[in-house]
Structure formats: C-alpha cells, structure tokens
C-alpha cells in the first residue's frame, strides 16, 4: 500500500520538478503523445493477444432459468438463449454491473445461523466511480473541440447545477473522489479485501486520486490559466503542438499523471475494461445443446470401443443373457 502511495507521490513530484525546471515541453507535449500511443497500441495488443486463444467450449454461467419447454419462462438476460439475449446480458454487465448487483455478504451468527445480507455498496460506488469518470472524460472534450458543442455545455450545466462556488463545483468531481475514497477504504478496512490486495491494486487508486486531485486543485484552487491550457490541448489534437507561457505547475502534474495512467493501463488490471467483453462465461448464449459449439483444437476421439468391451466381457454377457454383437463362437472363429 505504502509503496503504491509513495510511487504516486514520486510521480507527482517528478512532474512538479520537471515543470519547474524547464521540462514543460516534455511533460506537456512529448509524454502525452507517447502515452496515447502506448495506450492505443497496448490496448489493441492485449485484446488481440487474448483473442488469439480460442474459445474451446461454450461455458456461460447461467444466472437463471434455461430455455427448454415452451411453457416455462426462461430468463432471457441472465440465461440467454439467443444472440440478442446475450448482447442484452453483456450490456447489463458492462453498463450496469449486473453481477456485482447480486452481491451479498455472509455472517455466521449464534445458533448457528448463516445469514446473507444484501451488499450493494460496492456495486453503487463502483458504478458511481465509472460513470463519474466517464462524465469527467467527456467534459474534458471542451479542451479538444472548438467551438465547444452544445451537448458539452449542457452536460457541464447539469453537472454544476448545484451552483456552488466559482468556478461552479461539478458534482462529478465530488462524487468521483467519494467513490475512489470508498474503494480505497474497502481495501484498507475490510479484512478480506485487505488480505487479497496487491500493490497493483492500490497503485491505480492512488494514481486516479492523484489525477482527480490535481484536476480539482487546478480548477478550484490553483486556478491555472485555462485559456493557455486550451491553446496547448488544441495544439495537441491538431498535431500542431505549442507550449504557451505561464500555465502553472498544477496542470503539468495533472497531465503527467494522466500520461502515467494511459501508459500503465494496458499492462495492468485496468484492462478489465477490455477483458470483460471476452469473458466466455458471460458473452456466450446458453444454447449449447441446441447449437453445436466447435472447438478448433478438438483432439481426435480416443475411447474404449464397444467391441473392446465386449471382447473382455463376452462370456459373462452371454451367460447373463445379454445380447452380444459377436457370439463366443464367432469371436473364436475370427481368431
């Protein structure tokens, strides 16, 4: 945990020192380009690498009634029979975290009684984090588009509708910090989760907190020169990079941590973003008895044939009056 925290603090310091000592072009222009390349290249490579391994068996985890008899209502989404149902299941999984929504926690009470509680906090905060992050990501398109489309302005209006402070406080900023805080607190205070957590579980959390924190700091407190930032970001997207003067260190910390996140992403557990689409227990229909699934490396059949079986047990079978393909006489004659 501490190593991950120190690592993120170190990254922040590097960015701050770098910005202060003349590496602004490196941090503000070169690294973002490199990070985006690594992100795209790495992401594609990982997906291709996974996809190279075939899916030998159709093994959906069925979360409800199968389709069998006409009068039994199947669970079309939790146990999909059709492609449409499977797409629906994946959409529920990816957009609403269906499986996590099932979460329970168990407790053994006196009696003994094993008791199950609904436990949707993880689902709620995980969903909150992902959607706030998405919203923030979308809001940032203000820096990459000129003129700023109306839809973006509308999103910003809604996000800032509480009308707190100047500049307006975005709810998504508050919620994303709260959600990250919850996810971190779980890792620290839940005995089970703490026990399984690795440095590579804490690192992305701290990195994201650093990223979001630096963003909030530059927007609400450091109040960096937004116009100058936009000149830089527009330069980046138009492949015509320029480095305006006087942007402020907070921005360089922010963009450096973002570059780190992008470059780290494909090589980390954050790839669950792509991997979830390839999970064979979710993305396949529960119709294996109706439609044959082909295994590309299906080995040739090797089994003990009936003839071999009968050869061993022929006399016993005849004695017991069981039918045989070859009688003892026929078998003897064949030898």
């Amino acid at each position: 945990m501490f190593i991950s925290l120190l690592a993120v603090i170190a990254l922040g310091c590097i960015a701050w020192l770098g910005a202060a000592s003349g590496f602004q072009y490196l941090i503000g222009v070169v690294l973002p380009y490199a990070a985006v390349l690594v992100f795209i290249g790495g992401f594609v490579w990982r997906m291709v690498d996974w996809a190279k391994s075939p899916v030998p068996f159709r093994i959906p985890t069925t979360g409800g009634q199968q389709k069998s008899l006409d009068w039994i209502k199947p669970a079309r989404l939790d146990s999909p029979f059709t492609t449409a149902g499977t797409v629906g299941r994946m959409l529920l999984e990816v957009l609403l975290f269906r499986s996590l929504f099932r979460n329970t926690s168990v407790e053994i009470q006196k009696g003994p009684r094993v008791v199950y509680y609904s436990a949707k906090w993880l689902w709620l905060f995980a969903l909150l984090f992902h959607y706030c992050f998405l919203l923030i990501f979308i809001r940032h398109f203000r820096f990459f588009l000129e003129p700023v489309p109306f839809a973006l302005t509308a999103i910003e209006f809604v996000d800032g509708i509480m009308q707190i402070g100047v500049p307006r406080m975005f709810m998504s900023d508050v919620l994303v910090v709260a959600a990250l805080g919850f996810l971190l607190a779980r890792r620290l205070f839940s005995e089970k989760v703490r026990y399984i957590s690795l440095a590579n579980d804490y690192f992305p959390l701290f990195l994201l907190l650093g990223l979001v924190g630096s963003g909030i700091w530059m927007r609400y407190f450091a109040k960096v020169d937004i116009a100058a930032v936009k000149v830089l970001t527009m330069g980046l997207v138009t492949m015509n990079p320029v480095l305006p003067e006087g942007i402020g260190a907070a921005f360089f910390i922010h963009i450096f941590l973002l570059s780190c996140l992008l470059a780290y992403f494909p090589f980390s557990k954050l790839m669950h973003m792509g991997g979830v689409f390839l999970s064979p227990t979710r993305n396949l229909p529960n119709n294996t008895r109706a439609v044959r699934h082909v295994n590309p490396w299906n080995p040739p059949k090797k089994y003990r044939t009936y003839a071999e079986y009968e050869d061993e047990f022929r006399e016993l079978m005849e004695e017991a009056g069981l039918p045989v393909d070859k009688t003892s006489e026929e078998a003897a004659a064949a030898e």
Binding site: T61, Q66, Y195, A199, A290, V291, R292, A320
Partner: protein
C-alpha cells in the same frame, strides 16, 4: 478417517485471518484435509503422465525431475488453448465480491479458500513466468517463484474447490474458478498427482462402462433385483431391456443410482415411469454411466469417457438419449458433449417425446434430454396419473445441484415435477437456491470420506439453510437431482439438520405414480409404510 468435531465445535474452530500474508503461509496437511493419492496402476492403465508413488502428508512427493518445465510448458500450452484461462489470469481486480460466496471459505475461514485467492495461487506463478511486470517486480506485482511448496498448495486448495461456479455468478467479469481449478488439476495430473477417489472411477468407467466398476452381468442382476423390489411394492413386474438394438431411446444415468442407497430408489422410479408410459427404450451396460469423473481429471479424459454415449446410441440405432438425474453429468452433457464428441451419429434425431409429441428444440443438436424436462412435459400434458397424497407425510424442499443450476439453468423443471407429486413443498432461503445454490460439499470428485471434515465445513451453508426450513416449516425431506448429492447429502443432513431424509426427485415421482394394474400401495419404494395407507 479423523474424528469429526461436533457442529458447534466445528463452527467455533473457524479461525480468524492469519497475520502473515498469504504467500508466507503454507497448508497443514493434517488428516481429514487431503484426499488419498491415485493408485499408480490406475494412472498407468489410463496413460496418465508420470505415474508414481506419493502421499500428501509426506515431505517429498517424488515429483518428476523436470517438474518445473512440465508446469511451465503445461501452463503455456493451456493459455494458448483456453481464452478463458488467459483472460481470467489477467483481468481480476481483486474486488473481493467472490470472497464470501464460496462454501469452503464460509466453512473453513481459510483465506485461500476465497475464490480470488484460490485463483491467485495459479495467477502468481503465471505473472512470474508470463508477464513482464511479474518478471521485473516479483512479489511487489503479486508474482512468486514456482517451488515444490506451491505445488503442494495447489493440490491442497484445488482439491478444496468443487467447481460449483457460485463465485463466477457474482464476479463482475464472470471469472470462473471452476475453469481455473480444472486447469490447475490438469497441471497437477501432468506431474502424476491425482486422487484415488477420482482416478479409480475413471479407470472403472473406461473399462466396465461405469464408475463403480459394475460388470455387465452384474449390472443386469442388480437392476433385476431392483425390479423385484418394484414388484413387491406395486405388484407389477418390469423387465427393462439391456443393450437391445432398435429402441427409440437409450437411457443413461449415473451408476450410483444402480448401486447405492438412496439412489437405487430413484432408479426404480425411472423404471416405473418408463413402464407406465410404455417408453420404447433400452439401458446399456457399455454406456452405463451418466456421470463423468473424467471431467474432474482433464478435458481429454472427460471427452474419452463421454464418447461412449454417442457411440452406443449409434450402435443400438437409437434416435436420442434420455439422461437421468445427475449434476456434473449435465454440465458435461449440456456444455461439452456436443463439442467433445459431436456432431451426433447420423441416425439420431431431434428428441421428440413419443408420449406427448413435444419436440425438445433446446436439445436439437446434442440430442439428449434431461429427465426432469421429460417428466415435466409428461405432467404438463396430463400423461401421468398421480396421487401426491402418498407423499403427504413428507414436507419437501429441493436442493439445486450446482451444475444444472449454473451450468445449464435447470431450475423450474424439477420444481414443477416436485410440486405435482408432493403436496407440501417449501424452498430454502433465496440466497441458497436456484442460481445461488450452495454445493453439497462433495462435488467435483470430493465426495470421499477421508475428507469428511472438509465436506461438512463446505456443507455448512447448505446444511444451515436446510436446518432453517426444517425448523421453520417442518421440512423432513430434501429432494435432489444428482447422484453425488444422494451420496453426500445424507451425511450432510445428518450432521447439520438431523431428521431430514434425502430423496431423488424420481423416487418421489414413482411414489405418487398411479400405475395401471398396480396393487394398493401401502409402502413407499423404500418399503416403509405409507402413513394413512396401511393395510386395513
């Protein structure tokens, strides 16, 4: 066998989390926690790699000299063959949603029985050998070196997983520990490490056609003996066909149903049902096993044992296969069989119930129908005369077997059947049934007596849910659709909910079944007096 603690003591001894990290703790191979090793002769006869003498409680497991290379190459090959494994090795975020979903974790409190850590046991080695971060950062990135203790740990924990897939249901990415356990067991088998309770049935099944090693003549004798019992109860003499060609259907069920109490009553139930509806079927002694312990060994072994079903249907010229009550059998039949050994023999046809005319389109390709589907259809079409009051002394609940629940979705069919043959039916609490069902504690070949304490620990959630409905609703009967359940649930019920008796679903069907020409029923299939129906 080690002595079993009392239920209270068992719960009191669930330990707290250890202080040390999981990489620094080692399993304690005390009696009652590990399965006996497979016999060298069996392993040799099946052509398994590196058969050798060893035992889990010994310091030296006599691993083959190049064991590290075997594991490395074995894991590499499987990563290239199974996208599931590759994706599941990479995308876990350790959110912990799976942690308390595992019956073994609930009952043992051992953190390595949390599905996430069970997977990390393999993942840590994967990271070290197959990821750059793991190579560079080592332990910091959750990687560790493969050593002999890791192999021991794998053996300990991958044989404390019943491949029930409950964790997979709750995982936001669908990471399936059954898949990871199956592949980890394959790797262990590469080193010659297998367990007796699995490999003996596999050996038997290959040779005699069934797990129990029943030879053809004995199989016929046993079934005829069961038919005598049916005659005692009903007055009807049944002569089931064996290995006969030209019948429409081959019926295949786990051999446990032929052999062991209370499975035999379920088997009698099948025979009575088929007789009553005049089904054109045959039994087979060659394919006399529905279950598939090969599926607890390797994918190839599962395929090898399963191949007999289609081969026999082809030889006998049958149109389709009807399958009996079994859990893992139906995982294999529903999700693997057609892929393993299909396409089906050319003369097989899409299953159509000869009684109701229902076409089982859901089995159009595999051409194998579950008996609960078949019977539910019969009842729906009013093809059975039933007297559920014969089961009135029973208050019944239903245990969903893991595999039909989460690897098939067979949830309503057995309930529909049960509610039609029993007047008193109650479900257990919702977090313990249907797709959320809990394992009997002995799935995936772990139904062996030398690990009885582990089984009872793993059986805690199921047993406790049963006790709950026993106390609240007076449940005295647990019905199931699985031969392993019929072997594992009686000791579980005895331990966690004494007073509950375990029945196969088709035993209850046959008790209620009014057969043409039967004598007045005064006994159930167990030849126990039916209350209120005694001779006057």
């Amino acid at each position: 066998m080690s002595k079993l603690p009392t239920p209270d003591k068992l719960i009191a001894t669930i330990p707290a989390f250890p202080m040390e990290g999981w990489m620094d703790t080692k399993p304690d191979f005390k009696p009652g926690t590990w399965c006996y090793p497979a016999k060298v002769d069996n392993m040799k006869a099946l052509g398994m790699p590196n058969p050798h003498e060893w035992s889990a409680d010994q310091e030296d497991w006599n691993l083959p000299e190049n064991w590290e290379e075997i594991i490395y190459e074995g894991l590499k090959a499987r990563l290239a063959k199974h996208r599931s494994l590759k994706v599941f090795m990479d995308i876990c975020v350790r959110c912990g949603a799976c942690a308390d979903k595992c019956h073994f974790f609930i009952g043992t409190g051992d953190p390595k029985n949390m599905p996430v850590l069970r997977a990390e046991l393999l993942r840590s080695v994967y990271r070290r050998d197959f990821t750059t971060a793991g190579k560079l950062l080592g332990k910091l990135a959750g990687a560790r070196k493969l050593d002999k203790d890791v192999i021991k740990e794998w053996f300990y924990y991958f044989y404390q997983c019943t491949e029930c897939r409950r964790c997979s249901l709750f995982c936001p990415y669908g990471i399936d520990t059954a898949e990871i356990t199956a592949i980890a067991r394959e790797l262990l088998h590469e080193l010659g490490l297998g367990i007796h309770w699995i490999m003996e049935p596999v050996f038997n099944c290959n040779r005699t056609g069934n797990h129990l090693g029943i030879q053809p003549h004995a199989f016929k004798e046993i079934v005829e003996f069961l038919c005598e019992d049916i005659e005692t109860v009903t007055g009807i003499k049944i002569n089931p066909p064996f290995n006969e060609k030209g019948h429409e259907i081959v019926f295949i069920t786990p051999s446990g149903d032929v052999f062991a109490d209370p499975g035999i009553y379920t088997f009698m139930g099948y025979l009575m049902l088929f007789h009553e509806i005049g089904l054109d079927y045959t039994l087979s002694t060659y394919a006399s096993e529905g279950g598939n312990f090969g599926s607890f060994t390797t994918f190839d072994m599962a395929k090898k044992l399963n191949a007999k079903m289609y081969a026999e249907a082809e030889r006998l010229g049958s149109k389709w296969i009807l399958g009996g009550e079994c859990g893992h059998m139906w995982r294999v039949v529903h999700q693997y069989m057609d892929t393993f050994n299909g396409p089906t023999p050319p003369k097989m046809e899409v299953p159509r119930s000869p009684i109701t005319g229902t076409v089982f389109k859901n089995a159009a390709s595999t051409k194998m129908v579950h008996i609960a589907e078949f019977t539910a259809d019969l009842i729906k079409h009013n093809k059975l005369r039933l007297d559920p009051s014969r089961n009135d002394h029973l208050t019944v609940t239903f245990h969903d077997s893991c595999n039909p629940a989460r690897g098939m979705g067979l949830l309503e069919e057995p309930r529909y059947v049960l509610k039609n043959v029993c007047n008193n039916y109650v479900d257990m609490p919702e977090n313990t049934i249907r797709e959320q069902t809990f394992c009997c504690g002995g799935g995936s070949g772990l139904n062996t007596d030398e690990i009885m304490e582990i089984r009872m620990r793993g059986g805690l959630p199921r047993g406790n849910a049963l006790r709950y409905v026993q106390q609240k609703h007076g449940v005295n009967t647990m019905a199931c659709i699985c031969a392993i359940d019929r072997a594992t649930l009686p000791p579980l019920a005895n331990y966690w909910a004494p007073g509950v008796t375990v029945y196969g679903t088709h035993e209850l069907v046959a008790n209620a079944l009014v057969m043409r020409g039967e004598q007045k029923r005064t006994m159930d299939l167990r030849q126990e007096e039916l209350p209120g129906m005694e001779d006057e």
